[in-house]
């Protein structure tokens, strides 16, 4: 049967991870193949070119672009300071009387000089950029001048949506069950530097208190759209996130609103309480989808680092599914039939459906597009 359903988000207690840690521009790799690295280690660094400042020298000098060559004192590649003379006129009668000197407006270097436009391009000093390992692991490959591949064995959870960039810390359970709301009373100084786990919901005031207590990240089942607006100061139009500067990283595992965290996800997080965890909220739900990640590195031997081949989970009778749209959003069921013909649902839409059964025996019919497969 065709696979007209979504592959579920990955939630596993044991996987072989492979992370590319690449510089935005070519630079220097600081580690070598076979090195064991910690999440906080810098593995590569580079200098990003500084900002380019266009400067119309011909205009400043009061000459045509073509004449500029007669007065210019610099050439592309020259280092400059704010005292550097870029060009000067010869003054009256060529004697230097009333000559005009044009000084560089910035420190940096000369990028380009144009005799067509009379414009010169100056570049500000380079900006250092560092890439950290982000996960504890082994450097298994070095891409010359660009970065490294780090591999490890981890417990791994993909979130559905997140905010804020990469961070790491110790995992701490605040919720006692997957349907809990993040309890403000339990967030105190002991949470500083930690990644805390809420259950079904993290309201704005709890997020704010966590932030004030130095919590590095929150993992929650659901979050309210309006709370995000309060946090960011704007409404999210298109889900491209991860760059927010809100002082905390947030990863939602289920979606918007109050939604119980999937039991499997909750159990896994609980099992690894106290472990060092790497997390990011980067989400891009379009053009090469990126989902937030929760990575809990485990002990491993080098020979274990063989990644399994990726395949789409199979939807068949007996498969455990999660419903990802109303009604029954978030509920788990087991597939009991996969009728081939199109079926009319309440909205009168004709769709391919599946029949499933909840744990309590209730039977439902649900569009295949509205379920995800839970890998066993």
């Amino acid at each position: 049967m065709g696979q007209a359903y979504s592959a579920g988000l990955t939630v596993t207690d044991n996987t072989i991870l492979r992370k590319e840690r690449i510089l935005p521009l070519k630079g220097q790799v600081l580690v070598k193949k076979g090195d064991k690295v910690k999440a906080e280690d810098v593995v590569a660094e580079t200098l990003l070119p500084g900002k380019v400042i266009p400067f119309n020298l011909a205009n400043k000098l009061g000459v045509t672009p073509q004449q500029l060559v007669n007065y210019i004192k610099i050439k592309p590649g020259d280092k400059i300071t704010q005292k550097t003379v870029l060009a000067e006129t010869k003054g009256l009668f060529g004697l230097g009387i009333m000559k005009t000197e044009i000084l560089s407006p910035i420190e940096g270097e000369v990028e380009n000089i144009s005799s067509v436009t009379g414009q010169i391009l100056l570049r500000e000093p380079r900006i250092p950029v560092q890439v950290k390992a982000f996960i504890d692991g082994l450097v298994t490959d070095v891409i010359e001048e660009e970065g490294v591949i780090i591999e490890n064995k981890s417990a791994y959870i993909q979130g559905i949506f997140g905010l804020g960039g990469e961070t790491f810390g110790e995992l701490k359970m605040i919720a006692e069950s997957p349907d809990d709301e993040l309890d403000v009373a339990k967030i105190d100084a002991s949470c500083a530097g930690k990644i805390i786990v809420a259950g079904a919901f993290a309201p704005y005031h709890a997020i704010d208190i966590a932030r004030k207590n130095g919590v590095k990240a929150i993992i929650t089942g659901g979050i309210d759209d309006q709370d995000i607006k309060k946090l960011l100061g704007y409404d999210i139009g298109v889900a491209i996130t991860g760059h927010e500067n809100i002082g905390i990283t947030i990863v939602c595992t289920e979606g918007f609103g109050r939604i119980n965290m999937a039991q499997k996800t909750f159990n896994l997080l609980k099992h690894f309480e106290g472990y060092k965890t790497s997390i990011h909220g980067r989400t891009q739900i379009r053009a090469g989808v990126i989902r937030p990640e929760i990575i809990i590195p485990l002990q491993f031997e080098e020979q274990e680092l063989v990644a399994k081949e990726v395949s789409m989970p199979i939807l068949e009778i007996g498969t455990v599914i999660r419903i990802i749209r109303q009604p029954h959003f978030g509920h788990i069921a087991k597939v009991t039939a996969l009728p081939e013909e199109l079926t009319k649902v309440e909205s009168e839409t004709l769709v391919r459906v599946l029949e499933a059964e909840f744990e309590n025996g209730t039977k439902i019919i649900v569009p295949r597009a509205n379920v995800e497969v839970i890998e066993s």
């Binding site: 990955t10 400042i53 144009s114 436009t117 298109v238 379009r286 090469g288 909205s347 009168e348 509205n370």
Partner: protein, 620 residues
């Protein structure tokens, strides 16, 4: 190369969209080409699969399964070992496989010009016409500081850049200055780092030498004819062709799995049939309709991520396309809410709903874009959001589809009176003949009456306008199929793709609720007569089948007009359709919904009942 039924008896065509990959089967049956089966599967350009062909295989598998059911033949197969079998041998294989694509974000371009409203807009039109999303237009006069422009070029990472500027023989300075900015930004392509960014130069030909000197070594520079050789002439085709070629050569090859997909798309002789950007394929179809029928057309394709609007207006068939990159019903649904505002969405909803619930529902659709509304209430909400997405996209289109700006136009006395100015929109709803809807929410609405309602409420057609819909969303497929068989594409288009929904009659002007607005007498082909003096603020639906015509006498009251000649009385033929003829006296210019919530909900329910848009129980 063109083929007919001798070589083509079974074709698979796919459209790899940003959300789903849609496959259709076209077969030569009983002496004609017909679209017979449709299948779909989620597009697979994301991790862990990262390979667009997986989605194609899944969608094709669904086609195979449905074909076996339809023909009671368990041996039917289109693929073997995960690849198409071409040509067909009996039950196994197909004679051709073709595809369009907008997956991976489609073709993303940046354009530059000298004057934003002149060469800049021409460059934008060229890029949009080629099926691209324009990420930004950077012009010499766009008020940003040069260093800001450089930063912008650097951060955008487009798939390619189109540079225009200057008339042939005019000043070279500004366009060279723009090239200097591009050179110093040293832009990198969005996908893949192993190749130089393609930059097409289509500006003043006298500046070519300087452009080569400035950019030649830094980018993959392609020179083509000036898109605005003179102020009053726009020459977009050469640039559009270059964009198409580069799209295939560079961009497609970088997207996950496309190398393989490009090898798959072949005709009966195993010759390559290039993958076409989805909007370019739809644009081809819209232009063909307008020219063949000699009519003015507006078409829309509303997708998950973007909404494309196409229009062909005036006797010269001027074609315009705009893409609203962040207006769509899945990936971009939350942006529709942010752009339109909750109030504008709620004005189309005939019941009360908790605001926070609605906001969270919209966000959940955004993060799980492939889900579909299973509950009726959710369907009504999605269709309300669709109306706003369409309205906003059409507003953008109207302001963009304009006559050339900056021209000194010689006017005759009649033009002077009509105040026609350069740069004014050429979209005239009063002269528009046909409105075509396409895309999931319009093509797959459970009732075609809902499609009619969405098209009317979003586009507000004026006077007399025919409405149609792409039956199951196959215009892109047919657009690319026409590359190997115009015959197959045209036959399927007429028989299976284009479904006439009916005609909308909407007098333009203000009126008072309850006062007479339109007298209509319709003589229907079955001999029955509809006759009513319809008050202002009402809708009527008169059933009239596809292919049938009603003889209509229309007379307006109190200043309302019916056509571009401001006529108040018309005797015309009104075409029927799957839904029928809609008489809409809710007014235009302005179109106003009741401000009071209860009044508005009761008006919406009344109109939706008349249109038979939803089951009674949700409207009682």
């Amino acid at each position: 190369m063109q083929y007919d039924e001798k070589r083509l008896t079974r074709i698979v065509a796919t459209d790899c969209g940003s959300t789903t990959t849609k496959a259709i089967l076209i077969e030569w049956i009983d002496g004609e080409f017909r679209q017979t089966i449709r299948g779909e599967a989620p597009t697979t350009v994301e991790a862990p699969l990262n390979d667009v062909t997986k989605g194609v295989i899944n969608a094709t598998q669904e086609l195979e399964e449905l074909a076996r059911l339809k023909y009671h033949n368990p041996n039917i197969k289109f693929m073997e070992n995960g690849e198409f079998v071409i040509p067909r041998k009996g039950d196994v294989g197909v004679d051709a496989y073709v595809s369009t694509s907008s997956a991976g974000g489609g073709l993303q371009m940046m354009v530059t010009g000298v004057v934003a409203s002149m060469t800049g807009e021409s460059a934008e039109r060229a890029a949009l016409g080629a099926g691209a999303i324009v990420m930004d237009l950077i012009a010499s006069n766009d008020k940003r500081m040069n260093h800001e422009k450089i930063e912008r070029i650097r951060e955008l990472r487009p798939d390619m850049i189109l540079m225009a500027g200057g008339e042939d023989g005019g000043t070279v300075k500004h366009v060279v200055e723009m090239a200097e900015l591009v050179a110093s930004a040293d832009p990198k392509p969005r996908l893949g780092s192993g190749y130089k960014l393609p930059v097409i130069y289509a500006g003043n030909k006298d500046a070519r030498e300087e452009i080569i000197k400035t950019l030649g070594e830094k980018v993959d520079l392609i020179i083509t004819d000036n898109i605005r050789p003179k102020l009053e002439i726009e020459n977009l085709l050469p640039a559009r062709e270059k964009i198409h070629n580069l799209f295939m050569e560079h961009v497609m090859k970088q997207a996950p799995g496309y190398n393989k997909l490009m090898e798959w798309t072949v005709g009966p002789e195993h010759e390559q049939v290039p993958i076409m950007p989805t909007p370019a394929a739809v644009g081809n179809i819209m232009q063909a309709i307008a020219k063949e029928e000699n009519i003015e057309v507006v078409g829309v394709d509303i997708g998950g991520a973007t909404t494309d609007i196409f229009s062909v207006f005036t006797k010269d068939f001027i074609f315009n396309r705009t893409v609203s990159a962040n207006l769509g019903l899945s990936y971009s649904i939350s942006n529709v809410l942010a752009s339109a505002g909750l109030e504008n969405i709620m004005r189309w909803v005939p019941f009360d709903i908790n605001e926070s619930e609605l906001r969270n529902m919209i966000k959940n659709k955004m993060i799980r874009p492939t889900t579909i509304p299973s509950l009726l209430e959710e369907l009504v909400l999605e269709q309300a959001i669709a109306k706003e997405a369409l309205r906003l996209a059409f507003e953008q289109h109207k302001s963009f589809a304009s006559s050339l700006k900056g021209m000194q136009k010689q006017r005759d006395i009649s033009e002077a009176f009509s105040q026609s100015v350069s740069g004014e929109t050429i979209v005239n709803m009063m002269t528009l003949d046909l409105l075509v809807g396409s895309g999931g929410v319009l093509s797959h609405a459970p009732r075609r009456n809902q499609t009619v309602m969405m098209l009317i409420d979003a586009f507000l057609p004026e006077g007399i306008t025919r409405l149609s819909v792409d039956s199951i969303f196959m215009m892109p497929h047919l657009g690319v199929l026409s590359e190997i068989s115009t015959k197959a594409a045209t036959e399927v288009f007429r028989k299976d793709c284009m479904i006439y929904l009916g005609t909308c009659v909407a007098p333009v002007g203000k009126g008072k609720i309850g006062k007479p607005a339109l007298y209509a007498k319709l003589e229907l082909p079955d001999g029955s007569v509809f006759e009513e003096d319809i008050p202002f603020g009402e809708m009527r639906l008169i059933p009239c089948e596809i292919g049938q015509v009603a003889k209509a006498t229309l007379k307006t009251h109190s200043g309302l007009i019916l056509d571009a000649d401001r006529k108040k009385e018309l005797t015309v033929d009104l075409h029927g359709g799957k839904v029928g003829i809609v008489l809409d006296t809710r007014g235009r210019k302005p179109f106003v919904l009741p401000a009071d919530k209860n009044e508005r909900i009761s008006a919406l329910k009344k109109w939706m009942k008349v249109l038979n848009a939803y089951p009674e129980h949700i409207l009682s």
